[in-house]
Symmetry: C2
């Protein structure tokens, strides 16, 4: 087990009819004028917009509304909203949406407290630790951004989809999670979210640290929970109890607790996927469903017993040698993604061999990637080629 | 799943050679004069006293030292130290020890910020939410107090061993956990701690809430980890990796995460045990080893399938009817406690039938106890009688 520090000061308010508490939470913290950030129109259709605005009004909180945050959120929009925050003398940023909106809010909140170019923090040229306070109402579970200090934004002109943090200041102060509102979203958003959450667990589970029984048990429990309840939701989309399990598992998958005692994850596959969704308009979860089994096949020989453990504990595969179990487990991951109608090959999203060199070039910008195996350009190319296979 | 709020702002610093960071953490938070609270002589023998005082000195932190906090800590000592804090104008309380020292620190920190009688908060006559900031260096894992907001203190003259919290202010700001120093303690302190941690998990697991897959998986993983590594430590007391697993599991067992979505636990058995350790000088963990299997036997018929689940998931008992599995699981808990040399009957600590009425009377002061089954005096008496059986 590695030495570690763990700190997570986000307050979670979870359950049915909790969104109406947002105004009171802002008021308790002394805020009077918030930036109300959201994405597309879904919050108008599911009643969330009305609940939030009523709650703000009832607690005498002024707001400046900015909509139009896109999936795979972009830096140009972040820049635009930073200027609004500065001009309007905003107290706090309220993100109402999924990971894209919350990640944008983190970049905006840090950028509004910084005189330079916020992208410098993504490039590692500057280390920030101040942000406007961030509050969130989560409407789509996937990234875990509601309870961690990280954000991923795309710089469009350079096709860089990169991560940043402004340290402790990037943790949301309060995140409200009402699982029931997610049942009105298209089912593929649920399955993309499930894949994203599972991928976060894989990144941590396979980072090569030894003596991690507690967090391995924790990871396996989260994976079994996600698989079980995603299956139920596939046929019973409005099942609240299964939705609540899936939603809370997605938050716990990346709130830091599962990283304790580890080397804090591998993250090569996330970096590789970011290149795909920087070029193509596909969901991050869909990209991960394609790339994670490919990465696993490429690296499993470095620690086959850990891949065999995944097979045993999560998929009840007990027959065969360590290597056979490892391979069966990887196949089981891929089969589960097929079962929930996620793509599992680059061919499924119309990417062919000729598109690969540019993606490899982009992913290699931050190489070497990963920790279990340090991937250089050749490795990344090999993984993309495995991902072509149906 | 129940609606819930979750918030835990304690920063954990975990691992080898971390205790020397305490002075820097206090300095970073701006504190200059601390109350340095500890228990008996063990911190002089294992080097912790010297590490802490050097770290304070190196960071120009003044300290007022108070030792002599006893296991099953008492209110008279808390009163005494509150006066010292007020007189010495203390900035923060630094607890160096196990649950007894940390619990005392919480009561002292709240009492030093309050003009009335701190015991009023235990009796529920007043609700406090202010404390001096609390920092801890954990030297014995068991109670989980290093990462939660609760404390248990005994009012000696009335034999009341009761719990209190001053809300968010009772969370330690920083807790440092170096597992390696616990290997110098007598083995029975390790096994008492393991029983205490397992009991916290049982209190949460058996509180009767339905649809709690995530936290049930989490509980079962923690229990398997504790059982596995306590067995290893029994024969290999200095095994760092097993110590680290056990120590972190004990913290996670009661830091709130395992309560999310539940009704926050049953707690009848803890209340019953508190009566025993209010009268007899026995370790809380030893008392729980006796009383938990007895409570389980008395209540399992209310939710036999949950007791059968424990048997299956933690002890791999798969044969028999639901009721048979439930009973085998309870027997397996008791057998594990025997295996690690914990008492499992009141007879083992020389309590006989004639002693029971007074203990029942004391435990019933806060009745009805529990949640899975609300226990009144008759129930408590029945459980004590089951606990007489070897």
């Amino acid at each position: 087990m590695e030495n570690f520090e763990y700190y997570n000061p986000t307050k979670i308010i979870f359950g049915k009819r909790t969104i109406e508490k947002i105004g009171e939470e802002l008021k308790l913290n002394g805020f009077k004028k918030v930036l109300f950030l959201y994405g597309k129109n879904s919050i108008f259709n599911n009643g969330v917009y009305e609940t939030v605005t009523n709650s703000l009004k009832n607690n005498n909180i002024d707001s400046v509304e900015v909509g139009g945050i896109k999936p795979n959120p972009v830096l140009s929009k972040v820049y635009e909203v930073i200027e609004i925050c500065k001009k309007e003398k905003i107290d706090a940023v309220l993100a109402v949406g999924g990971g894209s909106v919350i990640d944008s809010a983190k970049a905006i909140a840090a950028g509004a407290s910084y005189d330079g170019d916020i992208w410098d923090a993504f490039e590692g040229k500057v280390s920030l630790n101040t942000s406007l306070p961030i509050f969130t109402v989560l409407t789509l579970s996937a990234t875990g951004s509601e309870m961690n200090a990280f954000a991923v934004i795309t710089k469009e002109n350079e096709k860089k989809k990169w991560a940043f943090t402004a340290g402790v200041s990037s943790f949301p102060k309060v995140s409200i999670i009402d699982p029931s509102i997610q049942s009105s979203l298209p089912i593929e958003q649920t399955t993309h979210g499930a894949v994203d959450a599972m991928s976060h667990i894989f990144e941590l589970y396979f980072d090569g640290t030894d003596n991690t029984d507690i967090v391995d048990e924790y990871s396996e429990g989260l994976l079994r929970t996600i698989i079980k309840h995603t299956r139920i939701l596939l046929n019973d989309h409005k099942n609240y109890e299964s939705r609540a399990q899936l939603v809370w598992a997605a938050t716990l998958a990346l709130n830091g607790s599962n990283g304790t005692g580890r080397k804090w994850g591998d993250w090569a596959t996330h970096n590789i996927e970011h290149s795909i969704s920087a070029y193509y308009d596909i969901a991050h979860g869909a990209g991960l469903a394609i790339m994670f089994p490919a990465w696993m096949k490429y690296v499993y020989k470095i620690k086959p017993e850990k891949f065999a453990r995944l097979a045993e504990k999560v998929f009840a595969i007990t027959e065969g040698t360590v290597e056979q179990k490892a391979l069966s487990g990887i196949e089981a991951v891929k089969n589960f993604y097929k079962e929930i109608n996620e793509p599992t090959s680059l061919a499924d999203i119309n990417i062919t061999e000729k598109d690969i060199p540019e993606l490899v070039e982009n992913a290699a910008l931050q190489a070497p990637l990963g920790r279990l195996k340090k991937l250089v350009k050749n490795d990344i190319e090999s993984i993309f080629k495995i991902a072509l296979i149906k």
